[in-house]
Symmetry: C2
Subunit: 223 residues, 2 copies
């Protein structure tokens, strides 16, 4: 009984989310904005990666960040201080993911008339954010070396739906039992079109091709 | 409108979960079983920590493990091979956490007449598992060094509700900007009674006091 009720609600929530995601897509198309949904486990390096990414893009594009968090504004302040980008903090009120409605609310509250690229830093979680399309142009999953190369086996939906997987903390690979070839093979089995970048957000290793790729994708949409 | 509906359902789900958690508590009391709920981010080292913990306890107690996963049975096989413990795999069917009803189902399906201690390895997630009391005797959160000492600020509910926080991957502390004193201070601000252990599941550092503590807690309940 309980299960049936939950599933009913879930279906309605999902249908509503799909509709909201279509609205987000139409809205950012009209506003000429490229939206990137950045996902990962807690502590995989979303914020540090974003800081370096924004600093690599900001001469060319006007950038804003929506920081989603269950609670706290730690990352929003960090990003504002270190990049100067326009930042808005979104509290999900206990929810473990962003949905398309919350994304639309964030875009409208922040204002995107003066912006080319918006990064949404999702809640740190490999399960729920994968289920909710927020209407982004690019879905990025950051997998950090200390988490292990078996994560694609355990959280397949996240890796199946990502357009890009960034392997982060490559500087720490010598102290962890992580095999990039194994991780990539497991991801490709789920998602043959996935694009990979191996980086260290700490020392900047691997960023130039990631930045080139983003410049290409952004220009492709906004040209 | 949508928000109101979701909250209604959430309240009903929570009330049902509280009732199921009370049932789990009564059941494991009658069966003389000590239940440990092990939570963490993906890749923080739940499985490796469990393997070493079980091997440290198994001469004294009969141990079983319930492996909760969204999908896959990787960890269940690992634990069975490396410890010989009784293991059951629970697939949550996409759900990002275990609840008390699923826990009761797991205990009954596995059978606990020949068991003293059950470890529940929850889904890797710092948000949802914190919200659902599964009726365990001990809630353990494993925080790994690479995730960073700011995690208590970002996922406060998990750290507020943990009885024990285990800091894992201490062997890697030299390559990460992680300050145990800062992490512990942040956790104590949320949860003054929290008990800490600093370990390396890789090399065994710090396990002897963690095992002593568990032996003490288990004996206290089952004596």
């Amino acid at each position: 009984m309980n299960h049936i009720e939950i599933i009913d609600v879930k279906e309605r929530v999902e249908a509503l989310n799909e509709q909201n995601a279509a609205d987000v897509r139409a809205y950012i198309k009209r506003k000429k904005v490229y939206l990137v949904n950045v996902m990962s486990s807690p502590g995989a390096g979303k914020t540090t990666t974003l800081v370096r990414t924004i600093n690599g893009l900001k001469e060319k594009w006007r950038i804003a960040v929506m920081e989603a968090d269950v609670d706290s504004s730690v990352d929003a302040r960090t990003i504002q201080v270190l990049t100067g980008a326009k930042v808005i903090q979104l509290h999900t009120g206990g929810s473990c993911h962003m949905d398309a409605g919350m994304t639309m609310e964030g875009l409208m509250t922040m204002g995107i008339d003066d912006v080319d690229v918006v990064f949404l830093e999702n809640v740190g979680n490999l399960v729920c954010p994968a289920e909710f399309d927020v209407g982004a142009d690019l879905r990025v999953e950051i997998l950090s070396v200390p988490e292990g190369d078996d994560k694609p086996l355990k959280y397949p939906l996240m890796f199946r739906r990502a357009d890009v997987v960034i392997e982060n903390k490559m500087d720490a690979i010598k102290v962890f039992d992580y095999d990039p070839a194994k991780a990539e093979e497991r991801i490709r089995a789920l998602n043959p079109d996935c694009v990979f970048f191996a980086i260290s957000a700490l020392n900047g290793e691997g960023f130039s091709s990631w930045i080139d790729y983003l410049n290409y994708k952004i220009a492709e949409k906004l040209k």
